[in-house]
Symmetry: C2
Subunit: 141 residues, 2 copies
C-alpha cells in the first residue's frame, strides 16, 4: 500500500494557496475542477524527488462558512532547508509564528483554515538566533 | 522541503493501533515514549519503498475524553493492492465501511478517533462485485 495524501477542506482557496504555496513553498501538482459537483481538488507537493505523498485541498465552491476545527487532527509536518528564512517569509506574509524556532529546530504555524503546520529544520538544528530565540509562543497549534 | 508526516491525536492507543496496523496494514516504524511529559509518539508507515511520509500518532497518557472532531481536516488516503480484500478484513474486524467500494475503486472508513481514511484501488478499478456493489453508504466521512 502507498500513502497518497492528506486532505484538508479550505474555505477561501486563494488564501489557502497563498499560505501553502506562495509562503510555505509547496507546489500545485494538479488541479481538477468539477463544475457539476461545484468543487475543486488541488494537489500540493514539495516537488522533492521521491516525495510522493501530497496535501489535497478540497474547495467546495458553495461552502458558506469556515470549516469547524477539531483536536483529533494534529498537524502536517515538513522538513525545511532553512527554518529561519522560512519563518521570516511567513511572518512577512502576515502569518503568526505560533511556536517560534527558539531552538533553531522546530516551529508551528497555522493555515487560514486552522490546520497546524509543523516546520522542522532538515539535518542539524541551526544555532539559536534572534528574533526567534527570545520570541514567546502565541495561541495554540 | 520534504513532507514528513500527518499527526493525529488518539484517545485509545490500543484501538488506534489495532485499526491502523492490524486491520489497515500500516506498520509501526518507531515509537518514542516521554514519561516526563506523559505522552508517546508512534510513527506509522506503509513500509513501501520510497514512501517517506508517515502518520504520527500522538497519545497523551492523561487525555480524559475523546478528542473533538472538525471538518477542516478531511482524510488520510492510501492506495491499496486489493480494496475488496481490505474492506473484508476491516469489516470482519468490526469497522463500518461507510462508503463501500461499489465501483471497485474507492472506499471510506473512519478511525476510532473519527479520522476518515480513503482507500483507493491501486491501478485499474476492480470489476464491480458483491457484497460491495449493492451496499449503501453509512454515516459521513
Amino acid at each position: 500500500m502507498r500513502f497518497l495524501h492528506s486532505m484538508i477542506r479550505v474555505y477561501d482557496l486563494d488564501a489557502a494557496l497563498h499560505f501553502f504555496c506562495d509562503l510555505l513553498g509547496l507546489q500545485t501538482l494538479r488541479r481538477n475542477d468539477y463544475p457539476s459537483g461545484r468543487f475543486s481538488l488541488i494537489f500540493l507537493g514539495t516537488g522533492a524527488e521521491g516525495d510522493n505523498a501530497t496535501v489535497e485541498l478540497t474547495w467546495n465552491w458553495d461552502q458558506a462558512e469556515p470549516y469547524s476545527q477539531g483536536r483529533n487532527f494534529g498537524h502536517l509536518a515538513f522538513a525545511v532547508p532553512d527554518i529561519y528564512a522560512l519563518c521570516e517569509r511567513l511572518q512577512a506574509g502576515g502569518v503568526t509564528i505560533r511556536r517560534p524556532p527558539r531552538d533553531g529546530r522546530m516551529a508551528f504555524v497555522v493555515s487560514p483554515d486552522g490546520i497546524s503546520v509543523e516546520l522542522l529544520q532538515a539535518g542539524e538544528a541551526l544555532a539559536p538566533a534572534e528574533p526567534w530565540a527570545s520570541m514567546q509562543n502565541t495561541g495554540t497549534w
